[in-house]
Symmetry: C2
Amino acid sequence: MRKADATRERLLTEGRKLMWMRGYGAVSLREIATAAGVDVALVSRYFGGKRGLFEATLEGAFAQEALNELTPDTIVEAVVTLFATAPRNTDDPHVMRLIVMNAHDEDVGELVRAAQAEQFQEPLAAMLGSAEKAALFMAAALGLSVAEKSMHLSGIAPVGTPTYEAQVRHMLQAALDFSS
Amino acid sequence: MRKADATRERLLTEGRKLMWMRGYGAVSLREIATAAGVDVALVSRYFGGKRGLFEATLEGAFAQEALNELTPDTIVEAVVTLFATAPRNTDDPHVMRLIVMNAHDEDVGELVRAAQAEQFQEPLAAMLGSAEKAALFMAAALGLSVAEKSMHLSGIAPVGTPTYEAQVRHMLQAALDFSS
DNA sequence: CAAGGAATTCAACAATCGTTGACCCAATCA
DNA sequence: TGATTGGGTCAACGATTGTTGAATTCCTTG
């Protein structure tokens, strides 16, 4: 029974990596199973199916505990750091990619949006004292995620440069400065 | 030969509607053909395949002629209007949805990003006199598109309200105010 | 060693996908 | 009228997908 938990974990890790970064619909169970070094059948056996595996990857996806330690004064720099480091490391599943790739999926989009709202948007709104500011902050972060690839290939503000960080900081701060 | 052009047009219209709004991978050729009232085989016949049909929908997707009539002073309000009207009408294909749904697709993502860069980003950069401002402007617009559904279902600034328009205007203006 | 249960693999399934070539219908032209 | 061509349908293909139940290996226990 101990061995089963280990492979269950491997499937979860590989599934998160592949599904978050390339999209739920674009990844097959056989691909995930191969990456985990086991047979396809184990996915349905342990998680009840493809959707079940994806749903399992959403547990604690937004690392709420880390979010709780932030304040309105430190959140901008925290997200700037998040953007400056993780996004280009495709082996490290990035929560912004999760949303960009799957928030509008026909099968699991609703799960993603619900997780985002509960795990991120609501705590952020409470911290900022404004649901609108939280929504705008999220929109700014998401927009930068979506546009990142285009900005990178067109040679504009490639990720990792000070210019890019300045842009991210500017847009995030603008969201917080919004007053209805 | 004239009749063929008419059905070709119908396939193009229905294909754009479905593929733009629901995503390239989520829509089948049979679905598009049924919506157009013809057989599936005609897609491969007229467009050389699924990818060919999608590529055909990208021609003039960004309505450059309308873009050329805008100025740095009017573009914000133009995009605000675009956001306030079209996005919720699923029958009317929206260019922001095209990007959000397909810019990261494994099969056609590169086509979408290339079309966006050539048809929108570059003219916009020329108009604004800054590639960085254009990229940020695009990021702000995209972020609002991605976040829209989440904002709507969480009851925050539903589309069509003055509050939502104020948010859109604020984020777009912030992108233009960026100075490196 | 033998037995039994857990862990995993294997083989096959039904469904769906894009694509292709043969076939059919209607309009045109000699 | 009869032949021809463009426009369209039909049926089938190979490939891939998620899922399932039986078979098999592995490991622990008696």
